[in-house]
Structure formats: structure tokens, C-alpha cells
Amino acid sequence: MRGLFRFFRKPETVAGILILAILALMALASPLLFPGDPQAIAGPALLPPFQDWSLPLGTDRLGRDVLAELFYGARTSLAVGLAAAAAALALGAVIGTLAGFAGGIADDALMRLTDAFQTVPGFLLALAFVSVVGPSLMVVVIAIALSAWTGPARVARAEVLSIRERDYVAAARVAGMHPLEIAFREVLPNALPPVLALSSIIVAGAVLTEAALSFLGLGDPNRVTWGGMIAEGRAVLRSAPYLSIVPGIALVSTVLGVYLAGEGIVETAAVRRGLS
């Protein structure tokens, strides 16, 4: 209860949570509020915002409802951001745990692999992966995870290096547990908190990478994305700049919401650990 109180004390955290809640509602409610295909023609092309109240945010170059696209874009952004971040955190935690727990040559090999992934610019790697395998939601998620797992892996390894010297790990060894079982049932769960502290940065990065990929035309063509909307609006940037600006504002608020809420969660967790 006290943790909850402390959590909601900072106005920044409350703002972050509020933004994320609105986004989640938008994502969940979009099929109810806008039944039918958001990519279908809904009215005259290039209708400015606040003119026709059945199309509050107007229409784009092809006459699609901008508000409906904005709602469906929230779905894609949140789904890709969360899935890619979860995949990156899981992959990083597993590789970091294996490297830290095994030590020796396995550790060296896995850490060189991590170095190699960190040497190639993450966005270029994601771009190349999507371009070779072909754009679909799943491929975009994998591409983003491939470019984001190295941070969590390093943090997990550092944590495991200290955990593996603890007494309960020695006890598990004496009890005859298989090393892999020790690594994943005893060590990994205890190494998770600092890895999870990275999640807000990773989710935010994943949302931004997805947007940039879609902006360059490498998003799933069957889904509305904010990055794709910005790229669409770019063709009429001089006459209808709002088409690029509105989805951009949605993107900025999403990423900011993730950062603010994430910082609050990490601070609360740190205080609680410090107290106990």
C-alpha cells in the first residue's frame, strides 16, 4: 500500500501511467469504435481536421479516416513495442545467464557475439533483416528484438556473476541439481530485477524503431502504423502538414508515457528493495 502511494506521488509518473492507459484503451477500443477496414476510403480526399464531425481529424491523400488510422496505429505500435521488448529481454536474460553461469570459453564466445551485435548499428541490422526476410508483423518484431537484446544480456551476465557465488547456488550444486536447472531455476529469476529495469528503455526504443521502419516502407503493409502515416503525409507536406504532424504527436506521447511510467516503477522498486 505504501509502495502504491509512493508510486503515485510524483506527478510525472501519474502522467506517464495516464498516457499509457489512454493508449491501451485506444488500442483495445479501435475495432468497436471503428468497425470495418481502417484502410478503406471513408470520405473525400485531403479533408482538413475539424470540418466534418463524422471525420473529426479529416482524411488523408486517399480519403481514409485519419482518426480511425490513429486508433489502429496505437494497436500496432503497442503490440510490436511490447512483443519486441519481451523477446529482447527474454533472449538477453537467457544468453546473459548462460554466459555468466558457464564461464570460460562459452562465456567468451557469447560475449564476442554480443560485441558483434553491438558493433553493427541496430537500426541497420533491423532494416537488413526485414528487407531480406520480407515485411510482416512477426518479422518486424524479430528484427527489433535482434537489435535490442545486447543491453539486457550484459546486465544479466554481470548480475549472474555475483549470484553464482552465493550459498544457495552452492547448496543446489551439493543437492545434485543439473547445472542448467540451477542456471534457469535458481540464478535467472534472481538476476531478473536489474534486467527488467531496462524494460521501459527497450519498449520505447522498440516503438521508435518500428515507426522508423514503417516510415521507410518496411512495416507490415496490411496494418496501419504511425510511421507509415507520417510517410504517407510526407508527399503532401507543403499543403497538408497535419497529416504528418498528428501521428508524430501520438508517437511522442507514447514514448514519453513509457519513459515516465518506467522511471516511476524503477524508483519505487529501488526504494522498496532499499527498505527491506
Partner: protein, 328 residues
Amino acid sequence: MNRALLLLRRRLVGSVFVLALVIVGTFLLLEAAPGDAVDAYIASTGGDAGMVETLRQSWGLDQSALTRLASYVWALAHFDLGRSVAFSRPILDVILERLPSTLLLMGSATALSFALGSLLGIVAGARPGSFRDRLLSIGSLALYAVPSFWFGLVLIVVFAVDLRWLPVGGIETIASGRTGLSRAADIAVHLVLPVTALGLIYLALYLRMMRAGMAEIWRLDFILAARARGLPRQRIVLAHVARNALLPLVTMLGLQSAQMLGGSVVIESVFAVPGLGRLAQEAVSARDTPLLMGIILTSAVLVVLINLAVDIAYAFLDPRVGASEAAA
């Protein structure tokens, strides 16, 4: 000096391993790409099935994957990245032609974010927890949340379309016949918007790192000692706190270089800067996978070189680095 050389040797050995892994990675991606060089060649020139077979044999594409990897590495060792299908020129030539623009863009953006970021970081870290500190921290977070390509478009709308102060894109005025200083000024004017879009976003990283470092140093004993000696506050902030917090930021310069290169891909296509990033996008839309892999290899080499340079600079700045190895 000896210290720096020893450090350099150790880092070089590590870099060779890392680059070898990157090469294997790009080879695997090339293998995974649908179609091979012969398909691409036939698609642009035309030809029958018999010709496809002879070409595959003469280009060695009917060999096993391991043999092909060996010949790929052999070619790379001779600085041969293969031929670009889209440009019908050697890939290395195309890349080297585009590299200067990217280096200029990246270098200027890094300088901007480092200088402004550490400066604002000092302002925020001078009094941790103050109103100014909170304002700067939240402001930098908001800036970091902005997608660089969208920020670039907004800058274009405001400064190039509405106000007409700056050019919309490109690296210089086409066929202007300018030379020397006047050409340099022309390029500088064209770079203002892309450098701002790329640099301001990464500013937050340096600001936050500087601020966090300073907040930690304020608690140390030697600051208390400096206060006890009655030094003016401004002198403590600059000469004691900020100076010691600045050093870790240098490491960040190297770590940041890969991210900056990735960011320049999008910024270059927004502002039509003919650099490596725009080339990557052109390679993607032309389905020129060998060119894309060449770009990835070049950026990996670039990142390795930048990190080596940063390590050496760090060894000069901080006498503790590598001292244990030199003694051994």
C-alpha cells in the same frame, strides 16, 4: 605511451574476432535472401536456363556453402565487396563515394549533442533536485522521445517551407559551380537542419549522464573538503564536480557511434543527403542485398575504428586506464 599501445593491441585482437563474426553474419543474411547474384543479373539482362547454369558454375555459386564463405572472406581480404546490381559498379566505390557526407553529418551531430548536452548537464547537476534540474531532466526526456525522422519533417515544415530560411534537403546546391569557402558555406547551410534533427535527440543522453555523474560526485568527501576550505561555489561546480563527471562521457561517444549511424539512415532519407544511410535505403528498395551487406560491414568497421580512437583518447585522459597491464 607504452600503456596506450598495450591497450590498443588488446583491443585490436578483440576487434578482429568481432569483425569475423559480423562477416559470418552478413554471409548468412546473404544466403537467406531469396535469389542470388545470377538471378539479379539475369533479371536485368535477360537470358535462358542454360545460361543460368553456366553463370552459376563460372561464378562458383554451385559450390558448398563453406567454400562460398571461404571465397567471400578471400574477396573481402582483398577489399573486394563484390558488384552492386543496382549501380552496376563495384560496391566499395559506391560506398566510399557516399561515406564523406555521412561522416560529416555524424561528426557535426555528435559534436552538437556532446557540447550542448554536457553544458546543460552541468547546469542541471550544479544543484541536483532544484527546479532547473527537474525542468531540464523532463525536457531532455521529452526530446529523447521524439522520433528523429518526424522531428526532421517538422523542422522542414517550419524552417524550409514556411519561413524559407534554409534549404529543404540535399548536401549542396546542385550544379552551382561553387568552390572553396563558398562551397563549404553552402554545405554548412544544407547541414543545419539534418544536424539539428540528429544531434538534439541524442543530447538527452549526455545531459542525463553528466547530471547523474555530478549528483554522485556531490556526495564525495573531497567536495566536502573543498567546501570546508571555503572555495567559491562556482569553482567547486566547474573545477571539482563537472571536471570529474566529464570523463565517462568520453566513453559514451564511442558507444553512441553505432546508434548515431543507425539514426543517420532515416535522417539522410528525410533530408535527401547522399550518404551511407540513404544508400542503405536505396539498396533496400532496389533489393540489392550484396550492397546492403557491404554497407553493414563498412559501418561495423567504422564503429570499431571510432571505439579504438575513443579508447586511446581515454587512456591519454585518464592515467589509471591500462596501468595494471603496463606494470605486468
